[in-house]
Structure formats: structure tokens, C-alpha cells
């Protein structure tokens, strides 16, 4: 709360603007994660009071496993949503790519690493193809990707063995991969190392700002960095209190770090947001709009392929049920709850993860307190509607203030 207030005093639009409007503006832009974090804390508090095991290391590890696929897909979906497109075919693609890995590993004796590379390549090329059809034809992504989603379900049925209709993965390297936990030392060393690199970059930024005579708050920037490092080490400690950090969680963390860097610290990232904000302005500034959109679709395709394999490894099999559309719905819900705009230009990598945590925590907690499926669906849907309405209201009242 304190940081929010500080932010508000710095953020000044020209006209006289009330504290309330400034707060709304801050919440809808830089501090967009704050309301999501607060909701998450509230949800956790409710479930923790209802069920003693909700906050146990074992259940939190379970939760991480449950949201891994949704999170990986939501990460990619944020990129596509930011450029004001959408992809409704992720559930089908995830299942097809898992099917490819399953068939290659089980039926054709290909090694897992090669099968993974093939599946991720297929996902990337698929995204490129689908994206190019959308950007060059100008057809609405909503319908094109819906059509592809149906086609992918057909492809999945062709891919799976005709008699049994499923590929069992028990006993393969995938089972080993899904059960693999990082060694304790490594599990602490990795986030610490990444965190130190982040701190070094913040320090370097500060040095440059001072050299250029720009205002800079070293203490604040370092404090935030150190807080993030300690928070991630605490999360690692929770995992280690049960069976250790699952490989999928480590991979997800790595993806978050890479994409968070790419979207905020590179021209690529700024261009994505520029395209979502004002496509024509981006084009006039010389940004290759079509290529950027295709790249977003392609990255989503690769991440979806990976997410599909993670899901298959968790349930140890690929079947027609793998193309369950709840993956699509949960990934979109995660992105939107985290504050990603369907109109483009707004949303962050962290938002997707927090959104996935909100959706996943509700499902997990409702299961623990023995709530019925109908109640779980009502609550999850209600939270999604509340989140998107709150977001729209915040954005509207924030921007009407200054113009």
C-alpha cells in the first residue's frame, strides 16, 4: 500500500487530478499486479481457514503441478493478446504435439529429446503458418483459429492408434521427466544466480541514470530486487519441504524469466506492445508488424507444444480427451484475470502466472474442501467475470481523468 501511494505522487498528469483517479491510474498500469496479488491472498486466506492442508508444502507442490500447463500456454497467449490477436486452437495443438511425442517415443522408439524438439518445432511452424494466414488475409483470428482447432482435433484422431485410441506413456522417459526433482543445491543456486544477474542489471541501470543526471532511487530498486530473490528462495524452500522442485516448475520459472526480460528490456517486447497500442503508428515507425504478429503466434505454438507434453507426462497418456477445451478457457482466463486486455497493448508475463495461480488455487481449494463441481465452476466463472469487469472499470475511470 505504501509503495502505491509513493507511485501516485510521482505520476502526475497536467490537470488537477484527484488522489482517487491517480490511484486508479496506477492500479491500471504499473501496479496492475497489486489487485491480482490481493485477490490471490484473499483466496488463499479463505481456503487456508477452511482446510488445514491447503497451505501445506505437499498441496502447494500439487498446485504447481496442476497449473504448469495452463501457465506455460498462458505465457504465450499473453504475447498474442498483446498484439491484439487471439488463438483458440491451443488445446488442440497441445494435444496433437503431445500425441506426436507419444507416437514417436512409444511406437517408433525415438529418443525423448529428439521427439521433444520435433514437437516444439511443429508447434512453432504451426503458429507461423496460422499467423501468416491471419495477417496476410486479414481474416479474423477468432474464426481462423477456431477452424484450426477443429482440424487439430481431427489430426489428433488420425495420429492416435486406431484400435485403442490412446498412447500410454507409463514407463517411458516422460514418466521419469514428470517425476524428476531438482537437487536441493541446484534448486537454490539457480534462482539466486538469476536474481544476482537481475540485481547487477538494476545496479548498472542506476549507474547509467546517475551518469546521465537522471533521477534514480537505488535503495528502492535494490529493495525490490532483493525482495523478489528472497521470495523465490522461499518458494523453493516450500517445494524442498516436500519432495523438491519439480522439473516442470523449474522450466516454467525459466520461461517466465526469459519472457519477462524479452517483453520489457528488448525492442522486440516494446514493439509487441506498440502494435497492440496503435498498429498504424507502429507500422509508420518502421516496425515489421506482420512479422511481429507471426512471431507471437509462433512463440505461442512452441509454448503450447511444450505445455501439451507437460500435461501428457502428468497424466501419463495421450487420448482424444487430451484436446479438452478447458485448457484454452483456463489459459485465456489466466491471462485476463492477470490484467491482459483482449483489445491489445496491455498485459504482462507476470500477470499470466498470477492469473493461472488464481484459477488453479480456486480449483485446488474447492476440491480440498469437498465442494461440488457445480459450485467450483460457478466460483471460477464468477471470479473471471468480476476480474474482467473490475479491469474495464479501472481502465475507464483512469483514462477519462486527463482528456
Amino acid at each position: 500500500m505504501n509503495t502505491t501511494r509513493q507511485q501516485v505522487s510521482v505520476t502526475t498528469a497536467p490537470a488537477k487530478i484527484s488522489f482517487r483517479q491517480n490511484l486508479l491510474e496506477a492500479l491500471s498500469t504499473k501496479w496492475r499486479v497489486v489487485p491480482v496479488l490481493l485477490s490471490l491472498a484473499l483466496i488463499w486466506a479463505i481456503f487456508a481457514s477452511q482446510s488445514p492442508v491447503f497451505l501445506s508444502a505437499r498441496n502447494l507442490t500439487n498446485l504447481a503441478d496442476q497449473i504448469a500447463t495452463t501457465s506455460i500456454v498462458a505465457l504465450g497467449l499473453v504475447l498474442v493478446l498483446v498484439v491484439a490477436e487471439i488463438d483458440l486452437s491451443v488445446a488442440g495443438l497441445a494435444a496433437v504435439c503431445a500425441g506426436i511425442v507419444g507416437v514417436l517415443v512409444v511406437n517408433m522408439d525415438v529418443s525423448l529429446s529428439i521427439a521433444l524438439i520435433i514437437a516444439i518445432t511443429v508447434g512453432g511452424l504451426y503458429g507461423l503458418l496460422q499467423g501468416s494466414m491471419i495477417v496476410y488475409s486479414g481474416a479474423p483470428a477468432f474464426i481462423v483459429t477456431l477452424g484450426f482447432s477443429l482440424m487439430l482435433q481431427g489430426v489428433l484422431l488420425i495420429l492416435l492408434p486406431a484400435e485403442s485410441g490412446l498412447v500410454p506413456l507409463a514407463g517411458t522417459d516422460l514418466q521419469f521427466l514428470a517425476a524428476y526433482r531438482l537437487p536441493t543445491t541446484l534448486s537454490y543456486a539457480l534462482p539466486a544466480a538469476v536474481g544476482l544477474i537481475g540485481l547487477a542489471m538494476r545496479l548498472n541501470d542506476h549507474r547509467q541514470r546517475v551518469a546521465y543526471g537522471l533521477p534514480s532511487n537505488l535503495m528502492r530498486s535494490m529493495a525490490i530486487g532483493v525482495a523478489i530473490i528472497f521470495a523465490s528462495l522461499a518458494v523453493v524452500a516450500i517445494f524442498n519441504a516436500y519432495r523438491g522442485v519439480p522439473l516442470t516448475v523449474a522450466v516454467l520459472a525459466g520461461l517466465i524469466a526469459i519472457l519477462s526480460y524479452a517483453t520489457t528490456q528488448t525492442p522486440f517486447g516494446i514493439w509487441l506492445y506498440a502494435i497492440g497500442g496503435n498498429r498504424e503508428a507502429a507500422r509508420r515507425a518502421g516496425i515489421p508488424v506482420n512479422w511481429m504478429k507471426m512471431a507471437a503466434f509462433s512463440i505461442l505454438g512452441m509454448l503450447t507444444a511444450l505445455g501439451g507434453v507437460v500435461a501428457a507426462a502428468r497424466v501419463l497418456g495421450v487420448s482424444p480427451a487430451s484436446a479438452d477445451q478447458s485448457l484454452l478457457l483456463e489459459a485465456i482466463a489466466a491471462a485476463v484475470i492477470g490484467g491482459t486486455s483482449l483489445f491489445g497493448g496491455r498485459g504482462s508475463v507476470w500477470a499470466a502466472i498470477l492469473g493461472a495461480l488464481v484459477i488453479g488455487s480456486i480449483a485446488n481449494g474447492m476440491f480440498l474442501i469437498n465442494a461440488s463441481t457445480q459450485l467450483r465452476l460457478l466460483v471460477q466463472g464468477g471470479v473471471l467475470v468480476a476480474a474482467v469487469i473490475a479491469d474495464a472499470l479501472i481502465a475507464r475511470s483512469g483514462s477519462s481523468s486527463s482528456r
Binding site: 498528469a13 498500469t29 541501470d205 486527463s402 482528456r403
Partner: protein, 260 residues
């Protein structure tokens, strides 16, 4: 640095034009949008382009900014004949256009908008790491040289005032060090205070030695700031005189064609 009154006279009488259009014509099918238009702009001079809707203003703007090419006539830049076939041609010569829609990304902040498409890097990770401090200091230098005041460069431009947004769009054009800057209706839809802000900004551009082409519907703007006013009517040049020789009523008469 320069006494602008004096400077105007010098500019108008002695200096060779930076950009000079001679006998420009443009036809769309059987319709003549422009015909036989001569138009010059010199260093440190604000030339206003006035005219009613359909007078050919926007066609001339598009020709100068390279969006459409002319069918007749010659374009000289620095005394050399050039062809403006696409917007990049104009940009490479040093002609920047600020369109009425400003072409800003409302979700990005001032610094990101100023450097969009030409981001700056520094340090080890060249090309893979933006240098926010470098860009922010350049942005600050550019904006203060134009007397533009924006309190927080990290506020998204969608939340700035109309005058500040116009200023950011102009500063973006100025950052590429043009010699001629073309402003298309810069004060449309601005309040009184914000209009004054933009007028002061145009005066700064003139002081910095840029050739400014001002396209405006607002006769008050035109008479306030221009050194010379060119009036287009029905695709032809109806009149061209130094601002001192215009009055509001003679300008209206020239624009509407009731002056003879």
C-alpha cells in the same frame, strides 16, 4: 539566439529555399487535385498552407511527405532535383511529417514513443538490451530544447494532455534531425492553453532553424505564427504573401475566392 523578426526578412529575401516545389500537378482520373503549384520553404521560416476543404492542401501534404507522387512539376531539395516516391524518401532527405492523428501509441510512455522503431542500446548486450537511461536522457534533452514540460516520462502518453501529446509527436519528428517539418492541423481539437503551448513550440522550431510547413484550418493560428501564407483554392495557388500583408478578411476572401 536569433531575433526572429529580423530573421524572417533575411530568410525570405536572401536564403535559397531548402525545399522548393515548382509547377506541381496531380490528377486522379479526370479530376485535377493540384495544378501548377509552386511552393518554397526556407530555413527558420514558418510557411502556412491555407485553403478550404478540397482546395488541394492534403494532396500537397501527401506529395511533400512522399505518400503520393506528383504527376507534373519538379521538387528541389537543397537545390537538387529529388523524387519523393515513398515516405522513406522524404524522411531520408530530412522532411518529417506530423500527421493529425499523431501516430502515438497511447499504451507506451513518452520515452518509448519518442524512440519507437529506433530504440537505443548500450553495454555488453548490444541489440538485446534497451538502454532506458540513455533514451531517457536523450528524450529529456530533446524535450527541454523545445521547452516541452512533461513531469514523468514513464506515464503512458494516453494519459497526457492534448497539447503534450502534440508536443511528443513533434519532438519525435525533431529527434531525427529533419530540416523541414510538416505539421498537419497541429491545433485541431486543442483548448486555448494547449494551443498556446503548441504555438510556442512551433516558434521554437523556427528559432532552431527548421523550415516549418503549417497546414491549418484555424486562421488565428496561421496569422499568429506564420511568416508567409500560401492560399490554395481549387487545386491552384490563389495567393502567396508575407503575413504582414494579410488580414483576417483578406485571408478569408482568398480562401473562399471572393477576393476578385
Amino acid at each position: 539566439m536569433q531575433r526572429s523578426g529580423n530573421n524572417k526578412m533575411v530568410a525570405m529575401n536572401d536564403d535559397a529555399p531548402i525545399l522548393s516545389l515548382a509547377g506541381i500537378g496531380k490528377h486522379y482520373g479526370g479530376i485535377t487535385a493540384l495544378s501548377g503549384v509552386d511552393f518554397d520553404v526556407r530555413e527558420g521560416e514558418v510557411v502556412a498552407l491555407a485553403g478550404d476543404n478540397g482546395a488541394g492542401k492534403s494532396t500537397l501534404v501527401k506529395i511533400i511527405s512522399g505518400i503520393v507522387s506528383s504527376d507534373e512539376g519538379r521538387i528541389l531539395f537543397n537545390g537538387q532535383e529529388v523524387s519523393l516516391r515513398k515516405p522513406q524518401d522524404a524522411a531520408e532527405l530530412g522532411i518529417q511529417t506530423v500527421y493529425q492523428d499523431l501516430a502515438l501509441c497511447d499504451n507506451l510512455d513518452t520515452v518509448q514513443n519518442l524512440f519507437l522503431g529506433r530504440e537505443m542500446h548500450s553495454g555488453l548486450l548490444r541489440g538485446a538490451k534497451l538502454s532506458r537511461p540513455l533514451m531517457e536522457s536523450r528524450a529529456h534533452a530533446a524535450l527541454s530544447s523545445l521547452n516541452v514540460k512533461i513531469r514523468d516520462y514513464s506515464v503512458s502518453v494516453g494519459r497526457l494532455s492534448g497539447g503534450q501529446r502534440q508536443s511528443v509527436a513533434i519532438a519525435r519528428a525533431v529527434l531525427s534531425k529533419p530540416r523541414v517539418i510538416l505539421l498537419d492541423e497541429p491545433t485541431a481539437a486543442l483548448g486555448v492553453a494547449q494551443r498556446a503551448e503548441v504555438m510556442a513550440l512551433i516558434a521554437r522550431l523556427r528559432e532552431q532553424g527548421l523550415g516549418v510547413i503549417l497546414v491549418s484550418h484555424d486562421l488565428g493560428d496561421v496569422l499568429d505564427i506564420a511568416d508567409r501564407i500560401v492560399v490554395l483554392r481549387l487545386g491552384r495557388k490563389a495567393a502567396e504573401r508575407p503575413v504582414a500583408e494579410w488580414t483576417r478578411s483578406s485571408l478569408v476572401a482568398a480562401i473562399t475566392g471572393t477576393d476578385h
